[in-house]
């Protein structure tokens, strides 16, 4: 018997999503495929043998041996600055996965879907948006995406393009674009009431972001009458790396 193996992953492509977040497209020989919402562990090993690992959500649905991650550079982090600024095309890291079987969306799901993202919490939710599109699913999706300001968004171009059945609403907490009617501020009940689904539609909700954001968004959904059994949450740590 073999435990979940570490596999060699080679950087095939990369692109910047904003000035601190970089998407890495990794080629991973033997990759078994994955579900939207799953994550991987990434391990770096120094020449002296010291190694350290972090968990990252996968940003795109399964595509052969390609695995796409978006990594936010955490200042003073041990792993993310390397992945964001140092790793070059052709360089290798080790990855293990996919892991996680609860915070996932499958295209055969019939219930409408609400995605609530705080900051880099958009990553696994974007895998769901892309999975839906790739599968030609007609499941209606609504995405509520909270960031500090418009410049902090990931995937802005792609989310601007029409994607029938997907509605995207932005919430800005610090600064808003010119002419934006909602003042900057954290996620409120009205945001979820207007940008989400009524509880009686029995949507499946996926909430991902920093711990405080997730707690707040989940509490607001429950106060709007959503079934706790249909609200799935994933929290990012206060420190990452």
């Amino acid at each position: 018997m073999r435990r979940l193996p570490w596999r060699v992953a080679r950087l095939a492509e990369s692109r910047w999503e904003n000035d601190s977040a970089r998407t890495l497209v990794l080629e991973v020989p033997g990759w078994p495929g994955h579900l939207a919402g799953q994550h991987v562990d990434v391990r770096l090993t120094a020449e002296d043998g010291y190694s350290t690992q972090r968990s990252y959500s996968i940003a795109a649905p399964a595509d052969g041996e390609r695995v796409e991650l978006t990594v936010e550079r955490v200042p003073d982090g041990e792993v993310s600055p390397y992945l964001a600024d140092v790793l070059e095309i052709g360089d290798e890291v080790e990855i293990r996965g996919p892991v996680g079987g609860w915070f996932v969306w499958r295209p055969d799901g019939a219930a409408p879907v609400l995605l609530v993202a705080g900051g880099s919490g958009i990553v696994p939710l974007m895998a769901m948006v892309r999975q839906r599109r790739r599968a030609g699913s007609r499941t209606p999706f609504r995405l509520l995406y909270s960031t500090r300001d418009p410049g902090r968004r990931y995937y802005a171009e792609e989310l601007r393009r029409p994607d029938p059945g997907l509605d995207v609403t932005y919430v800005y907490t610090r600064a808003v674009p010119e002419g934006w009617s909602r003042p900057p501020g954290r996620l409120m009940l009205d945001d979820l009431a207007a940008g989400g689904w009524p509880a009686e539609f029995a949507p499946d909700s996926y909430v991902c972001g920093p711990t405080g954001f997730v707690e707040r968004a989940a509490d607001l959904l429950l106060s709007l009458g959503h079934d706790p059994g249909r609200v799935r949450t994933e929290r990012f740590g206060p420190t990452g790396g």
């Binding site: 435990r3 799953q38 562990d41 968990s55 996680g100 079987g101 609860w102 711990t211 994933e234 740590g237």
Partner: protein, 92 residues
């Protein structure tokens, strides 16, 4: 407890190293208060020196997992039972 916890999704990798299937979707019952729910919903503190997972209802320790160089310690003190889905043939 403070707000600085992760959740049971963070246990997916460490537990998948031990178990043959995904454990974050496994439904456990808390020995402290009887609350049931997927391991993904536990409040998790870590990763160093290991992960401690507490019940979101009563904050009692449900499980702990510590990885050493050549062994893992799994402490299930607060889990009365675990119902582990085995129907899923998909990657996990």
């Amino acid at each position: 407890m403070t707000d600085d916890h992760l959740d049971g999704n963070a246990l997916a990798g460490p537990l998948r190293e031990i178990f043959a299937v995904d454990m974050t979707a496994a439904v456990g019952r808390c020995a402290g208060c009887g609350l049931t729910g997927p391991l993904a919903t536990l409040h998790v503190y870590g990763p160093g020196p290991g992960f401690t997972a507490r019940c979101p209802g009563c904050e009692e320790v449900v499980l702990r997992v510590v990885r050493g160089p050549d062994a893992a310690w799994l402490d299930l003190r607060g889990a009365v039972s675990l119902r582990i889905p085995l129907t899923d043939a998909e990657p996990s």
